[in-house]
């Protein structure tokens, strides 16, 4: 069996692996690295349960080969919290009851994080459009939209505080 040596940084940790060229990134993350927070819900890129960040961009890891991520920085749901401190999106999904069975949640949070990175203050319609590649069967989406709104507000407020602090130090 032909393999290729790859090196991938996942949540800040460098991983080396010898992989078959056909190995999907999601299987590398789950089966080889044990990062099972990234899920698989379809085989056609429709459901988004496998969404991770590759070099800062949202990507469906079931539609990407592991070898394509050679040298890349990958972030998964396991890399979102800072120790015991949850990412604002994780906290908001919890606060707003934005999840039920929890299976779509990691992908949904990763996609929402990418959405907020590209649009810090999205409208209701922009949020719905922004997560339309991620399917949730349990929540009817309303509380997910509310959670993303909560996180957007908190992250904007935190960013302003930080900017203000920097400005006052500079001043």
């Amino acid at each position: 069996m032909m393999t290729k040596h790859i090196s991938i940084t996942v949540n800040g940790t460098v991983h080396e692996a010898d992989v078959e060229p056909r190995l999907l990134l999601v299987h590398l993350l789950r089966d080889d690295f044990g990062l099972t927070g990234t899920h698989i819900g379809c085989d056609t890129s429709n459901c988004g349960a496998c969404t991770v960040h590759v070099n800062g961009r949202s990507a469906k890891s079931c539609t990407m080969l592991a070898v394509q991520a050679d040298g890349a920085e990958v972030r998964t749901i396991e890399g979102m919290a800072d120790g015991a401190t949850l990412h604002p999106l994780q906290q908001a999904f919890w606060d707003q009851h934005g999840l039920q069975c929890g299976f779509c949640t990691p992908g949904m949070i990763m996609q929402a994080a990418w959405l907020l990175a590209t649009n810090a203050d999205p409208s209701d319609a922009e949020i719905r459009e922004g997560i339309s590649g991620n399917l949730c069967r349990c929540t009817g989406y309303l509380n997910i939209v509310k959670a993303i709104q909560q996180a957007a507000a908190e992250m904007s407020a935190a960013a302003e505080t930080q900017t203000g602090a920097t400005a006052s130090v500079a001043g």
């Binding site: 099972t36 379809c42 299976f103 779509c104 929540t139």
Partner: protein, 798 residues
Amino acid sequence: MTTTTYEAQAPTTTPEVGGMGHSRKRVEDARFIRGAGHYIDDINLPGQLWLDIVRSPYAHARIKSIDASEALKVPGVAAVITGKDLEGYGLHWMPTLAGDKQMVLPVDTVLYQSQEVAAVIATSRYAAADGVAAVLVDYEPLPVVVDPYKALEPGAPVLRPDRGEDLQTNRIWHWESGDRARTDAALAGSAMVVKEHIYLPRIHVASIETCGCVADWDAVNGHLTLHMTSQAPHVIRTVVAIIAAGVGLPIPEHQIRVKTHDIGGGFGGKVPAYPGYVLAVAASFLTGKPVKWIEDRSENLQADSFARDYHIDAELGVSADGRITAVKATTIADHGAFDAQAAPLKFHAGLFNVITGSYDYPDAFVEVDGVYTNKPPGGVAYRCSFRVTEAVHAIERLVDIAAHERGEDPAEFRLRNFIPADKFPYTTPTGWEYDSGNYAAALRKAMDMIGYEDLRKEQAEKRARGELMGIGICSFTEIVGAGPSHDFDIVGLKMNDGAELRVHPTGKALLRIGSQTQGQGHETTYAQIVAEELGIPAADVKVEYGDTDTAPYGLGTYGSRSTPVSGAATAVASRKVREKARAIAAHLLEANVDDLEWTNGKFSVKGSPDRAKTIQDIAFAAYTNYPAGMEMGLEAVDYYDPPNFTYPFGSYICVVDIDKATGVVKIRRFVAVDDCGNIINPMIVDGQIHGGLAMGLAPAMLEEIPYDANGNNLAGTFMDYLLPTAVETPAWETGKTITPSPHHPLGAKGVGESATVGAPPAIANAVVDALWHLGVRHIDIPLTPQKIWAILHEKGIA
């Protein structure tokens, strides 16, 4: 029962205790938001092998040969299992929960596309898939029957010759309920009879996690652990034991442990036993190693059990003064090649005879014929209590058509015909005893919330301008909480559920329940029931389920039965603990038990509130200082046998705008007023309703699995089977009325499926309402743009 408003119901416990009525945040979310849930594909055992399945490309064919020689040469492939191999053990067939049997693997004939044909066992996921690709199967195609009406015609190929000599027909069973003669007479005497053919297409629950298992046969100890995605783990354990005993395999029930872990959505699709599970067990038995089977989405959508596929001919009689006189429904139920539905054994059509709905009239008759076709097994639920969605769709469409034909507002027609609030408990013409209801209150509340009168004015103005706007109502009555033991069983197992509560010396507690959670939040809400009943803070109660070695027996979670049955068992077990606590408190307080009163988590002496012992004091005493002659400890078990079903209800109103150029239906607003009795956790109830509404919108607008004449599944992936995204889903507006159940210990009713039942007719009624003036009286769901555009085109509008 008095109906109160949601807002008027204040919790009786403090937020710190967190009993009923508190929107307690979910404890299970702590792991899910971190990606630390433990779903079936997250489980990997040392030495584990992988199982993948060869599936039939044909809907009906004879297997001439299976050649596994090339597959066995694939690196990593350990074994290939065929039907002939299983036949040697008598394992090629398995019983279904509906009393039929289903092929695990065929020996000579396949009956639907994507049916399991062989299993490949290998050292990795990829090697197993390579092995599947290398298995050569030679098929001889046979005539295909996809239309259940044609399946019943003389001369149609008999699809199940394995059945007895007197059953050489594709008719599986005939089921009827109500009084045919009286109903026919009532219809004949009615001023108006509305007739409609209503088809509810084949759909699939498509939980985002597919099905799978890891079977782990420990040959040394003779023990099987089956990790699996099951909504009913105890039933599975018993069925596996029965299958094993039937074929002489040494796997008795006490040596079988089913563990479910976290489940990524169920909705009914994870109730049945699928061939993949049996194959994994057989493969583990054969190899002596753990064997994992995880289906992919295409397999899930093409081979797992399906919902609906009901062809209903329904009639509704109405008197000259606008009162409903009778309902009649004649139905063909397409159950595919094996009757693998998970309905109570005596109820082939489930609870379909709740079709009389929310209305007060004396006569009804329904008959249903189950039919075999060359399709995968049908008849499982889709977030619905045993065919209630089909029943509600039929009656709510008929009622709407009748109102429109009378030139009357559909709300007015419903309000006139509702069962009056003072007639509960109410016995329906088909024999159900509705426990409590106040249908007019719910509809009036929905009308107030949405501004009904203004919307009708707006609609009239828009219609005058040629714009298409519709308003649809659905006033449903559900029947949930199966079920009373005198009539309800699955494979003979009475549909009761157990709860086991242990209070530890330090006042913390462990609750084990027989029902299962696949997103409902039982770890959170069941602790709230204990908090309500015992005053032990919900945060101090650990809830366990999904391990058949430790959880009390239960029939599982489906048909909105958790709160009505398992929740009731939890309340009763808590009350048993409270009664023992009373005796210990009397001992501690040196008082007579009859002189004690229970308030806010403590027993105090009547008239002397300072002489009191908290439940925590009592728990400690239960292990350190209990009365002579009493057993140590503070625990209780209850198996709850519900005296009746519960009957949640509600009224939904949907407003749609239809684009004349494209046929696209836009749901502008959707108001849902639900009454599920007393509420354990309002946040979770709202979440259940939101999700149920989305799963009502789904078949109403998007989802259908059609088959072509050759039995090819035309929507076997998420590319073709369209689940609603956040874009198609409106911002739900929810409201509540509260009419407690008089027989449930908590006055609760169950809510998980109400919205899935109530939403589709509201949407369909809205769309037909928008088009009624053009001569449209019925459209079958899903209401796709293509379908609507074709109608508009035919009417010269588009």
